[in-house]
């Protein structure tokens, strides 16, 4: 790679590379069809090809590669969840992220600058203590941090004891970080395409063919395909696509808005989150502050941005970092979050045979991209449910065995 870069730098012409394969007609039949060419779909295609040798695969998307919620999340990576199932799952994902740039031969700009979750009440301190214990037990770097240390680490954070909701403690998670979300999907798609996987953009799935309870094909805006297996990986449209296959899901779909300020010199190293104020913030390597919060107050399939949410986010972040009062907001946008009742994903088999769900990704999808791709590929290739995702099956709701992560999402909703 360094030699190739040098050669490229010294060349007289700089031809663009087609990383994702040329546009081509749909074949009539594939072994596996993946609906959704976001991070999860591309990752699943990559691991199917690399680990299991399954390359007769089509990845469909109604828009373009990584143009949905992969491009709309705030790119936060962490594994400091509350349940053992959740912590083990997200920890495995972070481990994969660490070596992803090398594996995909593309710089995903992975940075581990740590994450600090703030507590503004005694109940929240107890929750952080609990999370620290579970995390440490499973080998995740999380520890309780008190105000003297927090003040040293974050001189710009408002630590006043007479604040309306004073900070009492924090959960310091040294493993937390960020990565460039576009690069993650590009890297996976590039490597999958190099192994023969076809990516079909502007190809919307319009129906699922089922015979005797078994999936037989997918109808698209560019023609019908017959196939052996189907994976739906369409965060933000899980219910809509699920309904095509006659599958009802325990999902409510909300927009989640975020915004970004003008760039500043580097002054905030870790990611800081306050579940109490429903806000989180980090500074990107370009210097902008990314500010995100809770979902909208009611469900909607629409990515519009609203003034009330900008006011809510601004008021909340000014409680923590008053200096941002002078900052200009450059952009505000929304992603679509498929919220599940227990704030954990829905992964695995579905009531339709050979139809697999990678759904319910709420506000926790980006950080799970590598591990969800790897485990879903294993499930599809071997027909055995990997241990890591067994707790996230759809039938947990029929068994009343939810995996409750409501208290450990960055900004509780």
């Amino acid at each position: 790679m360094p030699f190739g870069l040098l050669k490229y730098g010294l060349a007289r012409t700089y031809p663009g590379k087609n990383l994702f394969g040329k546009a081509r007609p749909l074949k009539q039949s594939y072994d596996v069809v993946i609906i959704g060419a976001g991070g999860h779909g591309a990752a699943c295609a990559y691991y199917l090809a690399k680990e299991h040798g399954i390359t007769n695969v089509a990845v469909l998307d109604k828009g373009y590669l990584g143009g949905g919620n992969t491009a709309r999340n705030t790119a936060v990576l962490r594994s400091n969840y509350l349940t053992e199932a959740g912590v083990a799952f997200y920890k495995a994902s972070l481990e994969l992220y660490k070596s992803l740039s090398n594996e995909l031969d593309l710089n995903i700009m992975f940075e581990q600058r740590g994450q600090l979750t703030l507590a503004h009440s005694d109940a929240a301190v107890r929750n952080l203590r609990w999370r620290a214990e579970v995390n440490q037990h499973l080998g995740v770097r999380s520890e309780l941090m008190f105000n003297d240390e927090i003040a040293k680490m974050l001189p710009h954070l408002r630590m006043d004891a007479d604040a309306r909701y004073p900070i009492l403690a924090g959960l310091w998670h040294a493993d937390g970080g960020t990565a460039r979300h576009d690069a993650v999907v590009w890297g996976y798609a590039k490597e999958a395409a190099a192994r023969g996987v076809e990516f079909h953009q502007l190809t919307e799935a319009t129906g699922i063919d089922i015979a005797d309870g078994k999936v037989t094909g997918v109808r698209t805006t560019r023609g019908d395909i017959s196939c052996g297996k189907v994976i739906q990986a369409v965060a933000g449209s899980s219910s809509v696509v699920g309904n095509m296959a006659g599958i009802k899901l325990p999902i409510h779909t909300f927009p989640l808005q975020a915004m970004v300020t003008q760039p500043y010199k580097p002054l905030l190293e870790p990611h800081v989150s306050s579940p109490h104020h429903h806000v989180y913030i980090h500074q990107t390597s370009r210097g902008e502050f990314v500010i995100g919060g809770g979902s909208d107050p009611y469900p909607l399939y629409n990515t519009r941005a609203t003034l009330p949410m900008r006011e809510v986010l601004s008021a909340a972040v000014l409680e923590l970092f008053p200096f941002l009062g002078e900052a200009r907001v450059m952009r505000q946008w929304a992603g679509i979050t498929d919220m599940t009742p227990d704030y954990s994903p829905i992964m695995g088999e579905s009531p339709v045979q050979n139809y697999y769900l990678d759904a319910g990704w709420g506000t926790w999808g980006f950080k799970a991209t590598p591990i969800s791709g790897m485990t879903m590929a294993e499930l599809v290739a071997t027909d055995r449910v990997p241990e890591l995702i067994a707790p996230f099956s759809l039938d947990r709701f029929y068994r009343f065995e939810q995996v409750n992560e409501a208290g450990a999402t960055a900004a509780s909703h």
Partner: protein
């Protein structure tokens, strides 16, 4: 959506309301099994289009029904619970 027409209190600011979930009829309490209850409690159609849903006017604790388009965010109609949304 900045205002909502409450069937009891008239046109009010949206901040006075909370969303209460998709409407579906409760299962028969004597006959329903675990599966029926699980589906009633957790599962929804969650469709992109016009949906009948519960809303509450919080200052008066008044629950009512709203037909709303979940793509355009347009309210089609609001009406009291006494009117069955299926029969309407």
């Amino acid at each position: 959506m900045k205002t909502l027409l409450c069937p009891l209190n008239g046109l009010r600011n949206i901040d006075e309301f909370i969303y209460g979930g998709e409407y579906h009829a409760e299962p028969d309490r004597k006959q329903a099994d675990r599966k029926a209850w699980a589906e009633h409690v957790f599962f929804d159609t969650n469709s992109a289009g016009v949906v009948a849903e519960w809303w509450c006017h919080t200052p008066s604790s008044y629950w009512f029904l709203v037909d709303r388009d979940t793509v355009t965010d347009q309210v089609i109609s609001t009406y009291p619970f006494s009117i069955d949304p299926v029969e309407k």
